[in-house]
Symmetry: C2
Subunit: 175 residues, 2 copies
Amino acid sequence: MKKKSFPLANVYGLLEPGPVVLLTTARKGVPNIMTMSWLTMMELEPPLVGCGDNYSFDALKATRECVINIPTAELAKQVVAVGNSSGRKVDKFARTGLTPLEASLVQAPLIAECYANLECKVADTRLVNSYNFFILEVLKAWTDPAVKDPKTLHHRGNGKFMFAGASVKLPSRMK
Amino acid sequence: MKKKSFPLANVYGLLEPGPVVLLTTARKGVPNIMTMSWLTMMELEPPLVGCGDNYSFDALKATRECVINIPTAELAKQVVAVGNSSGRKVDKFARTGLTPLEASLVQAPLIAECYANLECKVADTRLVNSYNFFILEVLKAWTDPAVKDPKTLHHRGNGKFMFAGASVKLPSRMK
């Protein structure tokens, strides 16, 4: 898979459909992966992403850097494995066979097998204490240009997931 | 379509997959509809939803109430029509043929044709000035119990949408 730099102004199109993502961090050289499906765009450009969960985001808090990696259906098994293993003592890259790659602007690794990777820094922590909610700025985006209509995973809860279905063009003037 | 009360603790399963939604408000008796795809869960129970956009959310600001209505593929044409018409001078219910129904706890109307409706009040406005981002508490939820795997719409940008595809059960222990 050859990834190419992807325009920051188009990042919203990767996240608005609502895929489950894999958030990677690295703290003192120790990488970690978490699944996440609580995230939303908050600004188009520079792209701001709001995200949170009930996890403790200790590494994100400490390092203020992460990568949002977007998996597709082929990685469903690995996504579930990451979600099921509680993080700190387990090397999730080793356990899942996912491949860490060096990012360009942050210490956290890209996941090679994900079709898109967004290198992020924490931009606003005002809601971290109340809701464990971080506002991230996407600094650099990478995608596999061969993937046009990614078959992303979407979480319905209680073990149920939905895979992205057909894409259609509609006469919408929304950005 | 007969809607039934839906448990607040399960609302996350309706929104986590990332559907485009129709946000309804009512100000001085005048209803309005907006499309929205920037939203995320922020807390499970009581369910908190963070949402925003580049629109001006004047009615939401003034009344602090709204309904999040979740459309499915049959309503794609109406969703696009709502997104394409700028709000204040157009009666979007009349223009689209969508049917307003009285809500139980808020002044904003439910959209009858949507398979799910979430009555909300504004719970936190700390990020409104910076990002036009509202935190809503879902007070009451309604769904059509006949709809098990809703074929929701998901926005890819620039006129492109994705329809929800197949659902699968995976051995996930995520909530």
